[in-house]
């Protein structure tokens, strides 16, 4: 009966049928099932601008280097406050149009950082525009491509009020008379990137990370406060704008080295800026607050790093001071 080696109909039929059954089990059924997922109540639909931005993201195939999945292992905690869940992709992974399918946003390579929460981590528009025009303006070692075709070069005389000027430093420009203006495409893309924030989970539903096998060093109750590594935290959260050497970027981000706010004896302003963000000086880009993303210990560690590096020499702050300021900030709301 099972004469596969002589009966080509039986052979091919069995092989195709078997494969189809296995595919149904391992691909079709789970795909149909997981497609039923609903969005979280706190999630919002894309604005038209953001949706267009997503399509540019796909067109330039940003997925080939950037993932958008926070895995449920501890090392991925850098990229989001909780692991990603199927609901997170409800709005972003819809079919684009007749010709193009739902984008493969999860990605398979992390040549660049994960972007799940980039809107939270990096909310400033100036930074994104500079970074897209030429990533090496803001991150010296970056190997990301530049996207000059998302920008226009205009003579100063032809710039209109509605144009969005990008403060590109002179050394990154070929022409001395022309200015860089962000095109609508660039603005859409930035709008999309800014919209990438992990939605709040409904109360108490916990999705947590699998802890790494490495035991966390236990804190002993001695007088010394053990703070996390401030330099690491600074590099992950602040250096993209203020630069690793605290020099900032003229015309976009203020320097921290030698800054009076950083070196002030009273650290209150500095800590409040970190928590609440800053938009008081028109010549610099807007800074977002880190109240939600950074803990008191982390803020204290960053502040101490900033106050003791690049020639700065101010006293260290304690966790209690940070706590006090946080409760004060909260009371203002």
């Amino acid at each position: 009966m099972l004469d596969f080696h002589k009966n080509h109909k039986l052979l091919v039929g069995t092989a195709l049928f078997g494969f189809l059954m296995l595919s149904t089990f391992v691909a079709l059924v789970p795909a149909f099932q997981i497609q039923q997922t609903q969005p979280l109540p706190s999630m919002e639909t894309f604005s038209e601008e953001e949706l267009k931005g997503l399509h540019i993201y796909v067109q330039e195939n940003c997925m080939s280097c950037h993932t958008q999945q926070v895995r449920n292992i501890e090392m991925d905690n850098t990229w989001g406050k909780r692991p990603s869940i199927p609901s997170d992709y409800y709005y972003s992974k819809q079919r684009q149009d007749l010709w193009r399918q739902s984008p493969s946003l999860l990605g398979s390579e992390r040549t660049g950082p994960d972007l799940t929460d980039v809107g939270q981590r990096q909310s400033g528009m100036e930074w994104h525009l500079l970074h897209l025009y030429n990533p090496r303006i803001v991150v010296k070692e970056s190997i990301m491509p530049s996207y000059p075709w998302l920008f226009d070069l205009k003579e100063e005389s032809k710039i209109r009020d509605t144009d969005h000027l990008v403060p590109v430093p002179q050394e990154f420009l070929n022409s001395s008379t022309k200015k860089v203006v962000a095109s609508q495409k660039a603005l859409n893309l930035v709008a999309y990137l800014q919209s990438l924030k992990q939605a709040e989970m409904p109360q108490n539903t916990s999705v947590s990370f699998i802890p790494s096998s490495k035991e966390n060093e236990s804190f002993d109750d001695s007088d010394e406060e053990l703070l996390p590594d401030g330099e690491n935290l600074y590099m992950n959260n602040c250096a993209a704008c203020h630069q690793a050497d605290g020099s900032g970027l003229s015309g976009a981000f203020p320097p921290l080295a030698g800054s009076t706010i950083v070196n002030d004896e009273n650290p209150e302003t500095l800590i409040r800026i970190i928590m609440e963000g800053y938009d008081a000086r028109p010549e610099f880009g807007v800074m977002a607050g880190f109240q939600e993303t950074l803990s008191d210990e982390e803020i204290a560690a960053i502040v101490n790093h900033e106050r003791s590096s690049w020639g700065n020499a101010a006293d260290a702050v304690t966790i209690d001071e940070v706590k006090e300021i946080r409760s004060f900030v909260n009371s203002l709301k």
């Binding site: 596969f4 052979l11 494969f19 391992v26 795909a31 497609q35 330039e60 010709w99 950082p113 491509p145």
Partner: protein, 619 residues
């Protein structure tokens, strides 16, 4: 004795192991995912261990029984021999002893193998004799002694399929090489059509659907007609398929460069109308292959054809599932993506290439395949295990945990078809190791087969959760995919091309060029692979330590440089391959009128040995 010890340790495992596995502090365990809980999996494993041990013990018992049987037979033989001796008379025994004495004291005189006479080859048996090999750098390899009489249409078609493949190989790897350089000089250009994101899928799709697929199908046409002992069902369909597939890759590449991308899912970046062209080509090819087998003039379907038909049929289903939209919103797309990208590699490239090995390897060695049954076992297990493992590309992702577990378990199961296949090929080569040093084809086969084992086994290990922890998202993936798509598929395809093309055109490539092609590709691949593996591991460890991301970019710089160096060697080897291809296929006026005999060189052959007309040797 040691069996008892074994039982004791087994008992110990049974008593101790569950405690380790089940000792979990959770007060209220979640029962919804019971199948994927470590306890259940552990239990299943334990049951399997018991099963394995039962089989082990059974084997021991059986072996003891057979030994006993054997000793009994031997004892009987001895008794018989003694009785025969007793029955012999004295003179008989004396003559036997005398003979034996002479045999023992015999010595060679020393000149049995030669004499002082001068050599005279009056019948012209010795054809080529030289004391000065053509080049001083590499070994002189054996020339391909046999020319195969191939129908002109088939020959032309195979040549064009492989020719197109060669073009896509050079094009696709030129792009790949350019991309590799961008890791070192990100500012190489600022042209949208050449930006990294857009070019990456151009590279992968061109080498997948252009190079490997077309070369495979072209080589497959020869196998399918040869082993069916019949001519091809339809040349016309084959040509339609050629045009469809080539235009699909050409249009697809242009669209990707202009920014039209289906959604970035790997290997399905072509939008559906473009993929449809390719799919129609595949359907035509499948129909053509199937009909050729259906009209075969021998009873049995050779095992190669199982793989060729399976690969084509499965891939058609796969492409349809990959492109239908009904279940691809939200993470549905991701489930399909894992399935699609792994099966694209496993059900198409690997399956079809295995089919090619089952024909071209034994025929190059001029002996049958070691075991037909192993080939059949590998075929069915390939279908069962390979189909289920796609989700191992998304371990720790938000996809269902059970799907990830299935993928990991069956990834380990992949060792069965891999070991079966590797054993089969190596056992076929066994006893012919000598041939490998003399042939310019077999080294390619050997490298391909070794990578088949190493690359696949490494892939299975990479699917485990712990290894995913370190390697996922790093450049290690890139190393793995080149180890398999290049080390296995491409090397085997080269082996097959060098095995068959000279035989059907009657023109041998220059050996030094083939040698250089081999060594540059091999060394290049090695540099590429090792640098990215080491770099990828260091990158993963740096992430686990929680160092700033940009540090992992900086630490990769030297490894990316080595990758580019390896890539350059690989690319140059492809240019040599293209040269060899043109050398083999070019300028073949009436090659069939003068079948190739083992002659001194191609140019003088005709004058020295005017071959008999239209009389060709076939194998």
């Amino acid at each position: 004795m040691y069996i008892r010890k074994f039982y004791i340790s087994l008992l110990a495992i049974f008593v101790l192991f569950p405690k380790v596995v089940f000792a979990q502090p959770t007060p209220n365990p979640d029962t919804s995912n019971w199948l994927s809980s470590p306890g259940i999996i552990g239990t299943i494993l334990l049951v399997v261990i018991v099963l394995v041990i039962a089989i082990f013990i059974l084997t021991l018992k059986a072996s003891a029984y057979f030994t006993q049987l054997q000793t009994r037979t031997e004892r009987n033989k001895k008794i018989e021999f003694g009785e025969r001796l007793l029955e012999m008379d004295e003179t008989e025994i004396d003559s036997v002893l005398e003979k034996r004495k002479k045999a023992v004291s015999y010595r060679l005189s020393g000149d049995e193998l030669g004499s002082n006479l001068e050599v005279d080859d009056s019948r012209g048996i010795i054809a080529a004799i030289t004391h000065e090999p053509g080049n001083p750098l590499v070994d002189e390899k054996k020339k391909s002694p046999i020319t195969i009489d191939t129908p002109f249409h088939l020959k032309k078609m195979i040549t064009w399929y492989i020719g197109a493949a060669v073009f896509w190989l050079v094009f696709g790897t030129l792009i790949g090489q350019y991309l590799g350089l961008k890791f070192i000089w990100p500012e190489m250009d600022a042209i949208s059509w050449l930006s990294f994101g857009r070019l990456r899928p151009v590279h992968t799709n061109a080498v997948f659907w252009g190079w490997a697929s077309l070369a495979m199908i072209g080589l497959g046409y020869f196998v399918i007609t040869r082993t069916s002992n019949n001519k091809l069902y339809s040349y016309k369909l084959a040509w339609y398929a050629w045009w469809l597939m080539n235009s699909s890759v050409a249009i697809g590449s242009l669209l990707l460069m202009s920014g039209v991308n289906n959604g970035g899912g790997e290997y399905r970046e072509y939008i559906w109308p473009v993929a449809l062209l390719f799919a129609i080509g595949m359907v035509l090819t499948f129909y053509n292959f199937y009909q050729t087998v259906a009209h075969r003039k021998i009873d049995e379907i050779y095992v190669s054809n199982w793989y060729l038909l399976g690969g084509l049929g499965w891939t058609i289903i796969l492409v349809i599932i990959g492109y239908l939209p009904m279940y691809q919103d939200g993470l549905g797309e991701t489930v399909i993506q894992g399935y699609y990208m792994h099966q694209g590699v496993g059900m198409w490239f690997m399956t079809f290439t295995l089919g090619l090995i089952y024909y071209y390897l034994p025929s190059s060695l001029n002996k049958p395949i070691y075991s037909y049954s192993l080939g059949v076992l590998a075929f069915w297990t390939q279908m069962l295990f390979y189909t289920l493992i796609g989700t191992h590309h998304f371990v720790f992702s938000p996809l269902p945990w059970w799907l990830q577990t299935v993928a990991i378990v069956f990834s380990a199961g992949m060792l069965i078809p891999v070991v079966a296949g590797t054993t089969n090929f190596l056992m076929t080569m066994r006893g012919s190791w000598n041939e490998i040093t003399k042939s310019y084809v077999l080294p390619f086969f050997l490298v391909g087969v070794v990578f088949y084992f190493v690359g696949s086994a490494q892939g299975s290990l990479q699917a485990f959760r712990f290894t995913n922890f370190i390697w996922h998202f790093t450049d290690f993936n890139v190393a793995h995919s080149h180890m398999t798509m290049y080390g296995i598929i491409t090397f085997i395809l080269w082996a097959c091309v060098y095995a068959i093309l000279p035989k059907i055109t009657g023109r041998e490539p220059k050996q030094i060029m083939v040698g250089m092609h081999f060594w540059m590709a091999f060394i290049g691949l090695f540099a590429y692979m090792v640098s990215l593996m080491v770099g990828g591991t260091m990158k993963g460890l740096s992430w686990i330590e929680g160092k700033p991301f940009i540090e992992s970019v900086i630490l990769m710089q030297p490894f990316w440089l080595w990758r580019a160096i390896g890539g350059t060697l690989m690319f140059i080897s492809h240019l040599l391959f293209a040269y060899n291809f043109f050398y083999i296929t070019g300028n073949q006026r009436n090659p069939m009128l003068h079948p190739k005999i083992n002659g001194p060189d191609t140019e003088n052959r005709e004058t020295i040995y005017p071959g008999p007309k239209n009389k060709t040797v076939t194998f």
